[in-house]
Amino acid sequence: MSRFGDQAVGYDKTTSMFSPDGRIIQLEYARVAMRRGLLTIAIVTKEAVILGGLIPLSKLLLPAEKIYQIDDHIAAAYAGYTADGRVLINKARDIAYQNRLIFGEEIDVYTLAEELSDYMQQYTQYGGVRPFGVGIFIGGYDIYGPRAVFVDPGGTIFGIRAYCVGRDDEKVIKLLKERYDPEISYDDALKLAVEGLVLAMKEEDKRKEKKKTEYESGVSHERVLIVRIDKEGVKRIPEDDIKKIIESLGGDSE
């Protein structure tokens, strides 16, 4: 049955009902909402997790945060509907703090993701609610070393090596597939992350020529936020470093 057919009989109206071919159509819409968000990317290397994303830049608005610290050793970033993402960030911080209270130790990255996804899953099984319109990346350094996890709007968890979600993610995923290698050095991975984000900005530019918005366009290091999470904790990559990488890629960074 086509999706159009499902819509006609109302299977897309709630998450608490399967379509006859076994899908939850509202969740698929939530994934669409997620992929409308600006690109968010995570790459795991032997020494650290790289978590990055694009932010909208406007003359009139302050820059967004995009990447949030969850605990000393964990950061998270999401793509999709910002208001939903903020709620999940607060929840994640709460889960991390609870673990410190109960066990006196930092929470494992995977455990945090599991507990957060339990919360997200609830919104796919009960009536009267809609699922979260975000996909969230959780990167951290725990007892196992550097690890990153992606949780989709339905609460499915993916342990990841390198992954991205958001506008133009198909093209960037292709780039990651070509260039990622589990043995990748940290410097190469950082370069790869920046390259992915630059690619997304360029794709966006192509569309912007047709349609002007209030947001500034063009490839700019000011639109790129990246953090590094290693055993020392979460650290922002300085703007200048990102600028240098963009320049070395041959792009112009105003």
Binding site: F103, G104, E105, T111
Partner: protein
């Protein structure tokens, strides 16, 4: 009582259970309870509470391992138990027991002392129960860092033996459990006797 040695921990306890009227309730009670192959507790105080705590902790550790795909740290077990004990105290239903948690995790050997109010104290050697002042007397003099397994076992047995000699509520034999990175081992009576004879 429990003490740390170079790469593991030794836990030791007597076998007498008595009530304050002076009656000995049991002469064969095992006060060291293994919770898994890397951690054990020694108990003193109310036997019922101690039994419930060990059963519940054993199950909780299994659940932790399934959920997180790793063994809990000794610190994590101790902090969790302390929260439980504290919550009980604050709801006017205290678990009247003093517990020593000892074991080996990825960070090495650790021992923690917990009381019924929920305090957690980590140390190199610990003792609890009626004979503890006497055991401490020996341990303070005999303990040093980086002992071998054999030295640690001997120290533990001598400490318990001192308490057996001078404390009325301590006696009726010694249990010894050794936890090393290789696993948990309970000493046989013959082995314990050998140490006492020397």
């Amino acid at each position: 009582m429990a003490l740390k040695y170079s790469d593991g921990v030794v836990l030791a306890a007597d076998r007498r259970v008595s009530i304050n009227t002076g009656l000995v309730v049991s002469r064969t009670y095992t006060k060291i309870v293994p919770l898994a192959d890397f951690v054990a507790i020694t108990v003193s105080g109310l036997v019922a509470d101690a039994q419930k705590i060990s059963e519940f902790l054993t199950a909780r550790i299994k659940k932790f391992e399934l959920e997180r795909r790793r063994k809990p740290l000794i610190k994590e077990i101790s902090r969790y138990l302390s929260l439980v004990m504290h919550n009980h105290l604050k709801s006017y239903m205290p678990l009247i027991t003093h517990i020593i948690v000892g074991g080996v995790d990825v960070r090495g050997p650790h021992i923690f002392f917990l009381d019924d109010a929920g305090s957690v104290v980590e140390d190199d050697f610990l003792s609890s129960g009626s004979g503890s002042p006497i055991a401490y007397g020996y341990l303070e003099a005999a303990y040093r860092e980086g002992m071998s397994e054999e030295e640690a076992i001997r120290t533990a047995i001598y400490a318990i033996n001192s308490a057996i000699m001078r404390d009325v509520a301590t006696g009726d034999g010694i249990d010894v459990v050794v936890i090393s990175p290789k696993g948990l081992r309970k000493l046989s009576d013959e082995e314990v006797k050998k140490y006492l004879r020397r």
